[in-house]
Symmetry: C2
Subunit: 394 residues, 2 copies
């Protein structure tokens, strides 16, 4: 008798992965330039040159035993101090290096945080559309994911829907801004609505609801949009960050958790994170890349390319007549399907060699996700296919 | 209300870490050369030159997007094929690359395997003395650790004690050879005793007991001793391996799980491992180091230094009159204390500036662990202190 959930999570392949693999096969069949693959959210921009330069410097400067050796479980203090300094400079937020826990990326940060917080049966709220892995992380930590619909028109937080979803079992809320799959950045108004609802809930029930802010796309914003720092909006906040997108190093697995200095039981939460990380087998985050990131914080890949892609794709889709919420960040656009069944729409798009991810797993039917971390030329070549697809529905 | 176990695991510091930190403070106080620190099992030998050479080659050869990008969750197929080829050459064991799951080190391999196998309340047997983190990994996955005493004289498996410990709830057995903390290598006789007991248990109860072989020290053996490959001894075997010690890269977190090709429900176990890894937040093992390891498999650090240290330390201790089981591998020697209370003995040793880890957390009171991954000169300088400590008890 094996436990059922890991088996199910291991067996079910995400529809994103399915579509991507279909795409690889199709490209081999008819030629890569004829397939318009918007399926996968892989950074398409190289790491800043500083990354490989830092690697070369480090192997020259350091002795091997130190460079490739164990670090403290929470990550090098010098890196944590650098991260804390960054928060002070950029967000005027006071972060204690002793409340930073460096992780193997944002997925590890989320899983570890949830294992530190959740008792069996605890509920975790998130807003639609949401990154499908949240369900796996929450259930893996013994909780239940509760999906709260966002406002239909702008995908911002619906305060009334949130109030209805809060219960005595609500332990945490996960927000993701800029959002995967929609590219929407939470407005100040949304954040205020959220923070006030959670504070009212605490006043009424005595239960703290922890706010987990999943921010791998924080640096990928356009048009000068500001991503507000939630540490400044709500005391019981944990930030889960990843350098995957900002430094284009998703395979190297480097991120962190920040536990707010204003969290009343922050010491316990931090101890819980240390303990959860330990029991899940995270001994320390990869040592070479801790030092690489320490030298590269503040650098970003050339995200101007993503902005150009977004403008090109959105202008083209708009002209043809597609409907979507204008994305302000990340590298996704979430497009309304031309029939209610997103999977059927995605299948029909395939006939035009368009690979678009149906939105069902994001908890928000009736959309497809387009990842525009692609070659700009592919976007241009895809426009006639988008037009032909639209024609089919007229 | 936060869950208690992560909090406890985060709060309690291991006595090894405590002793090491005492050592750092003491060295600052009286000078590093006057403290004889045998506390921590950190590799003291640099990585083979091939490691940094491979890094330099890879950053020159590869484009950044590929080199630092996501890989499949199970790790690069080319690396898994290389690992499988290694098993065939070295152990005549047929391993399927599709049953290898590359991990962030052996700790991750163990935690993921246990999450894939254990139902709440399942029991996991291990033999004393054992690596103290096993308890945290097993309890973190919802199981209970059952410690079975090894034979007193040679620390090999006691077949009768094992038989008594097997129950209907036994889901797995963890073995660790060469052993941390004793350096003992399991004999062929021990392995046969173990395999036969588990096969008899299955015949009697119908329950499969999975054998998890934790092998981070596999390449650290001396005197031509052979570490038998358990895949050849028992069908329901999982190997959890780490390159931390063989390549001296413990901070980089690279290891793997092999699910035996002979395991009847091996496909399900492998799916469970994929699912557990996913839900615990292990997206993929660090990408650069997957390629580094692929190029460096078969190389080892210069372990001759560890052998020299072992011979020096064991000869010295023997001459003074200490009692221990001759270690054949790893970089530990497990020495009988001169009073029953190992903690009291360790405290008394401290007065001679000797830092020796008491064995209580290893489930085997009455010993201290000495890690000899140290400078050989320190071993020589420590001998008068060992002698003075012995004198106190005469």
């Amino acid at each position: 008798m094996l436990p059922e959930k890991p088996l199910a999570w291991g067996r079910t392949r995400s529809c994103i992965r399915d579509l991507a693999e279909y795409g690889w096969a199709r490209k081999a069949e008819i030629g890569a330039e004829r397939v318009f693959d918007f399926s996968i959210g892989n950074p398409s921009i190289p790491a800043p040159e500083g990354v490989n330069r830092a690697i070369a410097e480090l192997i020259a400067e350091y002795d091997s035993i130190t460079l490739h050796g164990y670090t403290t479980a929470a990550g090098l203090l010098s890196l944590r101090e650098r991260i804390a300094a960054d928060y002070l400079t950029r967000f005027s937020a006071v972060v204690d290096p002793e409340r930073i826990y460096v992780t193997c990326g944002a997925a590890a940060a989320l899983s570890i945080s949830l294992h530190a917080l959740l008792l069996p049966g605890d509920e975790v709220i998130t807003f639609t559309p949401f990154f499908a892995e949240y369900r796996v992380f929450v259930e893996g930590a013994g909780g239940t994911l509760v999906a709260v619909p966002s406002r239909v028109d702008d995908l911002q937080i619906d305060g009334a829907a949130l109030e209805r979803a809060l219960t005595e079992r609500t332990k945490a809320v996960i927000v993701n801004s800029p959002n995967n799959p929609s590219g929407v950045v939470l407005s100040k108004e949304s954040i205020q609505t959220l923070a006030e609802a959670l504070r009212r809930h605490k006043a009424k029930t005595g239960h703290t609801v922890y706010l987990i802010s999943d921010e791998p796309y924080r640096e990928l914003v356009y048009d000068g949009v500001e991503v507000p720092c939630l540490l400044n909006a709500y005391d019981d906040t944990l930030i889960c960050y990843s350098f995957s997108k900002s430094l284009s190093i998703p395979g190297e697995r480097l991120g962190y958790i920040v536990v707010s200095s204003s969290m009343a039981d922050g010491d316990d939460v931090y101890y819980g994170i240390m303990g959860a990380g330990r029991s899940l087998g995270y001994v320390n985050p990869p040592s070479l890349f801790q030092r690489v990131v320490e030298r590269c914080i503040g650098q970003t890949s050339d995200i101007e390319q993503y902005r150009q892609n977004r403008d090109l794709l959105c202008a083209g889709l708009r002209e043809i007549g597609y409907d979507f919420v204008e994305p302000q960040g990340a590298f996704y656009v979430f497009v309304r399907t031309l029939e209610p069944d997103a999977k059927a729409f995605s299948e029909r798009a395939k006939k035009h060699e368009l690979l678009l991810v149906p939105s069902d797993d994001f908890g928000c039917p009736g959309f497809v996700r387009l990842a525009y971390c692609v070659d700009a030329d592919m976007i241009r070549r895809a426009m006639p296919a988008f037009r032909a697809l639209m024609e089919e529905y007229r």
